[in-house]
């Protein structure tokens, strides 16, 4: 009798366990499934060409504003590789516009105050910049605007290598110190100490730069092959935008350059090729 009881209890226990385990499996039946089925593959296996506009955000001395394009190939639904190039012009910021009217036109080396020409000619510009990057698109979705317009969108994040061409034009008559911060030998064999005036030193803030690039943005798909592309990009590289003495050693040297973030906001229209889309299962 006792044996039968135990057998029954064991059977019930096994069945109960089996049921609960089965219920557990059933509850998680879709755990391994994708979030969206029959989804339009708006980027996978497509080239993306985007003419774009870009401008710095919160630049200190000169806004860099320009236009360019990005070309991207989407290896998969989430991963892509691309390049971007932008040609730009430089516009004085509000800070520069406030400083310039207060500067003297004549040079006065005793005050260490730059003249208007010295100040202006030390600032640099960025006529061309760009990046090569890898892009990850972990989020995609759709939204309803005013309960009328239903559009697809995705968020993406990018990282890669930044490059920039910097220019500054300081005339020899302005940047006249051939050996900034260094003593020189005079004609009579005597030592001439440094002039301790950084305003007549060459700015040393032009040339090519390589650095790091990170970015993040959103595609808003207006159709199957056209999307609004909004991005914030950071081109980080060594720079000295003011071209002046940063480390207070009274001379402009390469030590005055430091690793700076150049943050841009970009807006473009992405065109996807081919223009037709496939769907997931």
């Amino acid at each position: 009798m006792m044996k039968k009881q135990h057998l029954l209890l064991a059977t019930v226990g096994v069945l109960a366990l089996g049921s609960s385990a089965y219920a557990e499996r059933r509850h998680n039946g879709l755990a391994d499934d994708v979030a969206v089925r029959h989804r339009r593959l708006l980027v996978k296996g497509r080239f993306e060409l985007a003419p774009l506009f870009e401008s710095t955000i919160n630049a200190d001395f000169r806004h860099i504003v320009g236009g360019g394009a990005k070309l991207e190939y989407h290896l998969g639904d989430m991963l892509s590789i691309g390049v971007i190039g932008v040609g730009s012009t430089a516009i004085d910021t509000g800070l520069v516009k406030k400083i310039k009217p207060t500067l003297e036109t004549a040079t006065d080396n005793k005050t260490r105050e730059p003249s208007l020409t010295e100040f202006e000619s030390h600032l640099n510009a960025m006529p061309f910049h760009g990046a090569a990057y890898v892009s990850l698109t972990p989020w995609y979705g759709k939204l309803a605007a005013f309960s009328q317009a239903y559009v697809a969108f995705d968020f993406y994040f990018q990282a890669g290598v930044a490059f920039a061409q910097l220019t500054s034009s300081c005339d020899k008559s302005v940047c006249s110190d051939p050996t900034p911060g260094k003593s020189t030998m005079g004609a009579m064999g005597d030592t001439i100490p440094p002039d301790n005036n950084p305003n007549n030193d060459a700015p040393l803030n032009d040339g090519s730069r390589l650095g790091l690039y990170i970015g993040g943005g959103i595609h808003v798909f207006l159709s199957d092959f056209i999307a609004l592309d909004l991005t914030v990009r950071d081109y980080a590289f060594s720079d000295n935008p003011s071209g002046a003495d940063f480390n207070a050693n009274l001379a402009v040297t390469s030590d005055d350059s430091r690793f700076l973030n150049h943050i841009f906001f970009g807006a473009g229209i992405s065109i996807m090729f081919p223009t037709t889309v496939k769907r997931t299962n």
């Binding site: 019930v12 879709l30 969206v36 989804r39 919160n58 001395f61």
Partner: protein, 326 residues
Amino acid sequence: MKRLRMRAFHRSVVLLLGLTLVVSSALADNKGKKGGGGGGAGSGSAGGGAEPEIEIDPADGAGSGSAGGEIDMGQEPGPGDLNADMAKADANAAAVKAGEVKKTPLSWKDILVVVRKPFLKSRRTELYPMVGTTMNDNMIRHYTVGGELNYYLTDVLAIGVEGHYYTESFTEPFDLVARQARRLPTVNKYNWSAALDFHYVPVYGKFAVLDRKLITWEVFFTAGIGAGQSEVVPRDTKFPGFTNLLIMPNIGASMRFFLAKWLTVNLGIRDYVFYDKFEPTDRSPTMNATADQAKSNADGSLINNVMFQVGLSFWLPTSFEYTTFR
């Protein structure tokens, strides 16, 4: 007596065994229906080649209850269980679509996914503590600690109040301008601000993270009117600063991500616009020496203080009930 107890025990064991088998077969039946095209979340697309997108939440535990294409009026998920509710809504939407597609062969382009909103705000109060930082001032950077208290009149319209306390730090150009251009910058710091705001929610949507987890979100615009206080940072500390009372209208756009029925994450940008008064440039022991004199001769300028704000919102009541069919 002992014998009777044993019989009762046997009866209860048999009853329990029977119940267990019934539950097991019911579960198996449900699973079979789900996989076989009866109507669960995974099968709602049965409609030929033209199919809408079907969203699936891994937390789906209610999808199988709506087999047969009928609208489920079943039990509501528990308070705070946003995922379960979303999964249930999606499953029902799929079931309804399956029924329609059989009758009229619609293109997927003709079908808009208008499922029940997973989060209702109407007649709920939002408590939104937040922190923020300046985005557009390259001399002085402000940090804020503050909050909003909003009441949603409808699901898309709210009225509320906000308040902020400010701290500040000087950025690199503040120092550079003094050393390189030999100019002392004139800056004001902000002490506090408060405003009455109106919020409008025109955009809502959802997105999948790594093709697995669905998250709903929305975009809301804000416009408000308020007041604040700025304080002059004297270029020369021998002279006193002064404060200004500011009229501060503001506009902004923010995003809200729904985590639970009572909790959201918000982030956004707000532009506080005001006319501020700055320290006069000509200040000496004989000119504008006192705070009153300096204030009366202050230079004014229109300022846009653009702030990035982020915080958590807590919603009261902590749950809500739907008043319409799915």
